[in-house]
């Protein structure tokens, strides 16, 4: 396509098992795909940082041969930079090596430059320079529970980082270990899993050890969190002091995805899979489910989605944007990517036949930054 770019466009970054693709759109319905970047390296984490008038795409890249690293681009993938000494490297004395970057999370607008990362082995990192250098969070690294944390099928990692507006209250979720909370900006951590089941352990209700797949915060209700667990969908209204099931009304309580609305209270999305032992959409029918009442009820959303579809959707292979109405995006392990410009009511296919999709992130960007393809 040719012609003038519009004032605002959208970028959707798609991290796969074998590289990164970038899709751009003027309207979130018609997409142009470019790539791959980092061919033959997996891209399990992406952060799009649009704070401060700059759009920086950060990607966690991992080569089976050459290991993991972080690249960033300030020109929407035109060029990529890797900090000379590596953005994330375990310090001397830890006797640990970075395996995979699972999460890259730009912090709030009020904390420009702050970017969090969650990694394998289980660790949380914080950058104050836009993601060029991260410091290991020692409070979590030195936590006495560490030796009892385990590995899920995909590895042992901190994969969810939720920071409240003050910056003091931080929730982290790890597989396996569960939810941990800090009330002092990350200096100290306590497990907060009461009510979340760990049916695969001798004590199904342990203090920690749960396999929480993803957590997300309600955008408008302080202290409210949602969790997609390894079987179980939960909500907390008290900063994770306690969790209650909100799975009723869903076709299955297994899955990996948990998304929340960028502004509206009570709205969240999940993408159920049948069960631990059958990780496919229930009955082979792929659908997103949205609640608008904090989990009291769920609405099935499958317009525009294929039937049948037997591929799973991984925990970070789904995201929302901050537009109005919110866009919803996800990709499957079969390499299909879908976008909705209306909060999931209708989906359109962005890409198909890509490698397994591991991560997607979307944001509005100035069209002036895009190649002249719109």
């Amino acid at each position: 396509m040719g012609g003038m770019a519009t004032a605002e466009s959208y970028v959707l970054a798609i991290g796969t098992k074998k590289g990164l693709w970038l899709a751009t759109s003027p309207d979130r319905r018609e997409w142009s795909l470019s790539g791959p970047h980092f061919l033959m390296s997996e891209v399990p984490s992406i952060g799009i940082d649009s704070r401060g008038g700059r759009t920086r795409i950060l990607v966690g890249v991992r080569s089976e041969h050459w290991g993991p690293t972080v690249f960033h681009s300030d020109d929407l993938g035109g060029t990529w930079e890797e900090p000379e000494n590596g953005a994330i490297t375990f310090p001397d004395g830890t006797d640990a090596a970075l395996e995979r970057i699972w999460q890259i999370h730009p912090d709030a607008e009020s904390r420009p430059g702050v970017v969090w990362a969650g990694c394998e082995p289980i660790s949380v990192w914080k950058s104050t320079d836009g993601g060029e250098h991260f410091e290991l969070n020692r409070g979590l690294w030195d936590h006495p529970h560490r030796s009892e944390w385990g590995a899920g099928y995909g590895g042992a990692a901190a994969h969810s980082i939720v920071v409240d507006p003050t910056g003091e209250k931080v929730h982290v979720a790890m597989s396996t270990g569960g939810v941990y909370r800090s009330l002092d900006g990350g200096a100290s951590w306590e497990p907060r899993n009461r009510g979340i089941s760990a049916y695969f352990m001798p004590d199904p209700n342990p203090e920690f050890g749960q396999c929480v797949h993803k957590i997300a915060a309600d955008a408008a209700v302080d202290g409210r969190l949602y969790a997609q667990n390894h079987h179980g969908v939960y909500r907390s209204d008290d900063d994770a002091e306690s969790w209650e099931s909100i799975a009723e009304g869903l076709p299955a309580d297994f899955g990996f995805v948990m998304l929340t609305h960028p502004r509206r209270a009570g709205t969240a999305w999940v993408i159920p899979l049948k069960a631990d032992g059958e990780r496919i959409p229930p009955d082979g029918k792929l659908a997103v489910h949205r609640t608008d009442d904090a989990g009291a009820s769920w609405k099935r959303l499958d317009s525009g989605l294929p039937d049948p579809e037997y591929n799973a959707v991984l925990r970070d292979a789904a995201c929302v944007d901050a537009a109005e109405p919110a866009g919803v995006y996800f990709g499957t392990r079969g390499g299909s990517v879908y976008a909705s410009a209306d909060e999931g009511e209708h989906f359109s296919e962005v890409a198909s036949h890509l490698p397994d999709v591991l991560c997607v992130r979307a944001a509005a960007v100035s069209a002036a930054l895009l190649p002249m393809q719109l």
């Binding site: 041969h65 050459w66 000379e84 590596g86 970075l98």
Partner: protein, 108 residues
């Protein structure tokens, strides 16, 4: 082997150890396919890697992780022998010998 050049200074072949890089890593070494470590006597592979990657930290990270361990799918050969079958990183290399780095056959 002919003489090699280190920092613009010719080094006799028998006073240097060459490290041959796969093409995929050469951009991380300023485009060079061979890096050289001056050596008057036998040294360890670890010393050779430390020496030749000193100016190229991104290259160093591709070969070894933070603990200094050679990455699982990176194979390092000394005179045709893979160092895991020798003495690992403390395998010795003599001046004039060659260290060959090859990515293993892996991936799906």
């Amino acid at each position: 082997m002919n003489g090699v050049v280190t920092d613009g200074v010719p080094v006799p072949a028998d006073s240097a150890i060459s490290v041959v890089l796969p093409s995929v890593l050469q951009p991380l070494a300023g485009g060079q396919s061979i890096l050289t470590a001056p050596a008057e006597e036998a040294v360890t592979v670890e010393w050779v890697l430390d020496t030749v990657t000193g100016d190229y930290p991104a290259l160093s990270r591709r070969l070894r992780d933070e603990t200094g361990t050679v990455r699982r799918y990176v194979n390092i050969y000394v005179n045709g022998n893979e160092i895991r079958l020798l003495q690992g990183l403390v395998t010795t290399v003599a001046p004039g010998q060659e260290v060959l780095i090859i990515q293993s056959v892996a991936g799906g």
